[in-house]
C-alpha cells in the first residue's frame, strides 16, 4: 500500500469509530431534549385517561337505561336552550306554588 491507498483504512476507521457514534449520539441528545413529560405528568395523564374511560362506560349505561325508558328520547331533548328555558320557568312556577303552601315538613 502506497500513496493515497494508505489513507483509505484511516478514513474508514475514522468514519466508523468517530463519525458514526457522533451521528448516533447527536440524534440521541436531540431526541432526549424534545418535549418529554415528567413522571407526575404521566401519572396525571394516566388518571385522566382512566377517569374518562370509566365516565364513558357509565354514560353508556345511563344512555341505555334512558333508551329503555323511552326509545326516542333523543328527539325529546330538542333545542337545549329552548327546553332549558321552558323547564326553568316551569320549575319557578312550581317552586312558587310549593312555597305558598304551608310548610309541612316533619
Amino acid at each position: 500500500m502506497h500513496g493515497p491507498e494508505i489513507l483509505i483504512p484511516i478514513l474508514v476507521v475514522g468514519m466508523l469509530f468517530i463519525g458514526l457514534p457522533w451521528l448516533i449520539f447527536h440524534y440521541v441528545t436531540k431526541w432526549k431534549s424534545q418535549a418529554t413529560i415528567t413522571t407526575e405528568d404521566e401519572n396525571l395523564l394516566d388518571e385522566l385517561h382512566e377517569l374518562a374511560r370509566r365516565l364513558d362506560e357509565r354514560m353508556v349505561t345511563i344512555e341505555r337505561i334512558v333508551q329503555a325508558d323511552n326509545p326516542n328520547w333523543r328527539a325529546l331533548t330538542g333545542d337545549p336552550v329552548e327546553s332549558a328555558l321552558e323547564d326553568r320557568s316551569e320549575r319557578l312556577y312550581e317552586s312558587e306554588r310549593t312555597s305558598n303552601r304551608p310548610a309541612r315538613r316533619n
Binding site: 418535549a35 418529554t36 413529560i37 413522571t39 404521566e42 395523564l45 374518562a52 354514560m59 334512558v66 333523543r74
Partner: protein, 126 residues
Amino acid sequence: MTGLRTKFYLDRQNKKWLGVCAGIADYTGVDVTVVRLGFVLGTVFGSGTMLLAYWIIAWLAPKKPSELYDTDPAQKKFWQSVRASPRRAGRDVRARFRDIDRRLADVETYVTSSNNRLAREIEQLR
C-alpha cells in the same frame, strides 16, 4: 426525567434476538415485522451499519419492567399516542371529557324537561 411508561425499552417477551425491534414496535406502534424488515434491509444494504446500531441500542436501552407487560391493547395504544405527542394525547382526553359532558347534558335535558315519570313520582310524594 421521563416517566416510566414513556421510556424506550427492549421488549424481551416478543423478542426474536435481543428485543430491539420488538421494543421499537412497542414504543412507536409500528408493526414489528416492518421494523425487523427495515433492520434486515438496512444490514444488507448498509453493509452492517444497522447491525452496529442494533447492538448499540441493545446495549444502551434498559429492559422493560415486568409490570409494564400486562397492559391491555387500548392502554398500549394510548401510551403510544402519548409518546408520539403528549400534547395531542392530552387534547384527545379533553375531547373525550367534552363528549361525555355533551351526552350528559342531553340526558339531563331529557330527564328534567320530560315531565312524565319524574313528575308523577314527585306528585305521589306530596
